[in-house]
Symmetry: C2
């Protein structure tokens, strides 16, 4: 039911097709994040029109609200949110560690208090898989523990727990129409990363995720971790770099052999009036745009740029009209989804490596001032 075909390679960069029950994913691919079963302010039609193929949703959030059993009763997540194409759910691990009010971790799992109402809940690998089976995404994640990258002792403990939980997640997994991915942890310690990559690769997962990056480490540390991990991964399994990232991160990640990305950055920036552009990031509330009849980015072909001026979008922001967030989200998502599509074409054409310097130069202005803890 799941099959990953690599159709072209250039250096470590790969272009492939991941076959899923809800259609083929052309990789590399950037996935918009629909935390609460909706990519904020957008309809599924907007997502299709901007070229999205994969959508991520969050196990932690949907377990708490509306409840994974409600989603299952409504026919699963695809049906509930009317996204007919491939979907991915995370394991809830990251959110338990980053969002929950309090948490107590033991060898068996995590007890935590909801960030919504303070109620107490418990996640184990088995519970995470059970929730994800109720949600019904095509790609699901083993339950993992994300550590502070600067705490080496904790990174080792968290990695070891993640490995036990990976085995238990595999044992708990029952639905053949869901591809279970294991997660490589190990913080920024090269030995731990190598150990984790080897261990997770040894298990019968359909794909491999790389977790615990873009959580406060430097860009160099992220690149080093990828340089250690991806060469150790099985060639014919898709690789997913969780919660990453900026346009620059996507280019660098693909160059290091990553196939799948997700990040809240495009929609979160949109809610703060910031837009990616080929001339650097723009704050669209800027008074300079009051009478600016240009689109956000003259080089962009998205609905927003084909249709509206900066002056109009600035007016919507100043007048506190929610349509501003919708229009900027469409633009920002289009920018990343289509950057990755262009990169895919270049890998197939064999021109990727020659284009990397130009892409990095075009997009690096957008990476500045980025909150990197942008997972949910």
């Amino acid at each position: 039911m799941f099959k990953y075909d690599i159709i072209a390679k250039e250096g470590r960069a790969r272009a492939g097709i991941f076959h899923t029950p809800h259609g083929d994913l052309q990789t590399p691919v950037f996935s918009p994040v629909g935390t609460q079963a909706t990519v904020k302010t957008l309809t599924p039609e907007h997502l299709k029109e901007l070229g999205a193929s994969l959508v991520l949703s969050n196990t932690y959030h949907l377990y708490l609200r509306p409840g994974d059993e409600v989603v299952a009763e409504m026919g699963g997540l695809h049906q509930f949110m009317q996204w007919p194409n491939p979907m991915l759910t995370d394991s809830g691990g990251f959110q338990v560690f980053s969002l929950a009010k309090t948490r107590k971790i033991d060898a068996d799992g995590v007890t935590f208090k909801s960030h919504i109402d303070g109620s107490t809940h418990r996640f184990t690998p088995e519970k995470s898989i059970s929730i994800q089976e109720n949600l019904g995404a095509d790609i699901i994640m083993a339950f993992d523990e994300c550590s502070d990258p600067n705490d080496q002792a904790y990174s080792k403990l968290a990695m070891e727990r993640t490995h036990r939980w990976a085995e238990r997640s595999l044992n708990a997994h029952t639905r053949p129409d869901q591809a279970l991915f294991g997660i490589v942890q190990g913080g920024i310690n090269p030995d731990l990363r190598a150990e984790s990559a080897a261990f997770i690769s040894s298990l019968p997962f359909t794909g491999i995720a790389i977790g615990g990056l873009s959580v406060g480490e430097t860009k160099e540390e992220m690149h080093n971790a990828l340089d250690i991990v991806t060469p150790l991964l099985p060639e014919h399994k898709p690789r997913y770099l969780m919660g990453v990232g900026t346009p620059e991160d996507l280019i660098n990640g693909i160059a290091r052999g990553v196939d799948i990305f997700d990040c809240v950055l495009p929609t979160r920036l949109a809610r703060h009036n910031a837009a990616f552009s080929s001339t650097g990031r723009l704050n669209l509330m800027n008074a300079n745009f009051k009478r600016d009849s240009q689109p956000i980015d003259a080089n962009c072909q998205c609905y927003t740029c084909r249709t509206f001026t900066r002056a109009y979008i600035r007016h919507l922001i100043v007048a506190r009209e929610f349509l501003a967030g919708t229009l900027i989200s469409i633009h920002n998502l289009y920018a990343l989804v289509n950057l990755v599509k262009d990169i895919r074409i270049s890998i197939i054409d064999g021109t990727f490596e020659s284009k990397v310097p130009e892409w990095l130069q075009t997009w690096q202005g957008n990476a500045a001032r980025t909150a990197t803890k942008a997972h949910s």
Copy 2:
């Protein structure tokens, strides 16, 4: 450039075509309100898809923000908000009286303080027309004074001032591609309403608006005012009942010879999680909908009802996702726009009067709990 053809009549109800520079309006017609150059949370594509033909925007709001001169520089309102079809602007009169922080009225005009920043501004008939010429809608309004319907002495004074301002608005009007409508006032006093209808009808306006209703009077008082006014109006000018209203009000207004309506009710209700339905108004946050796999209204063909369940929309509301407002706005606007389209067909078929009782019965449950002061 403007021509109004009546193509069918049944009793006092009329079906017509109002030719404008941005296309033909099939009347009767319900206009969504785009107060600040956007129908809240919707793209122009949503509006086209739900069947809207006319969109209203507010002179008072756009004068204050972003400024009518900015809109003019950006090519006018159609271009600015990318609505290629007919548009209407009000005169700003109603908002000066209902929204501005303070106001001082004299024979020449009104001095008021902005509800946004308290800054002082002055509207006169000439200024209102000048702003509306900068905005560039197809249908524009004479500057008027809307009185408290229960204050008879003030109603008379306001009506007389409205009549002087109507003449001055006509004199100030220069753009042949804009149809100027005069406004009948007179509160709920039958003699004043008749006097105002006769006076405004005597002037060379392209169409006639009926103002000062749906501002706190009873339904019976509104119907009585319409029963006095519409028989006194010229047959071959379009008639616009400003700021009205509920589905019931539309049915009753059309039966009394009204051609054009606008109201913020559909979008305002949507922001409060309330939806029109053929079984009465629904509060979609209601816990009963948590596992309800039906659409908002099984009899509705809008995008929202064709696509999403009540359970999903309730989830979006509870999770505070803005998409809820978008989806309910689409539904509520579709309901009114298409109710009026169905009524138009029935007038052409000669079945309107026979269907009124059924329509009123279907829709009256939606009129309950309505804030009637719903102009902006």
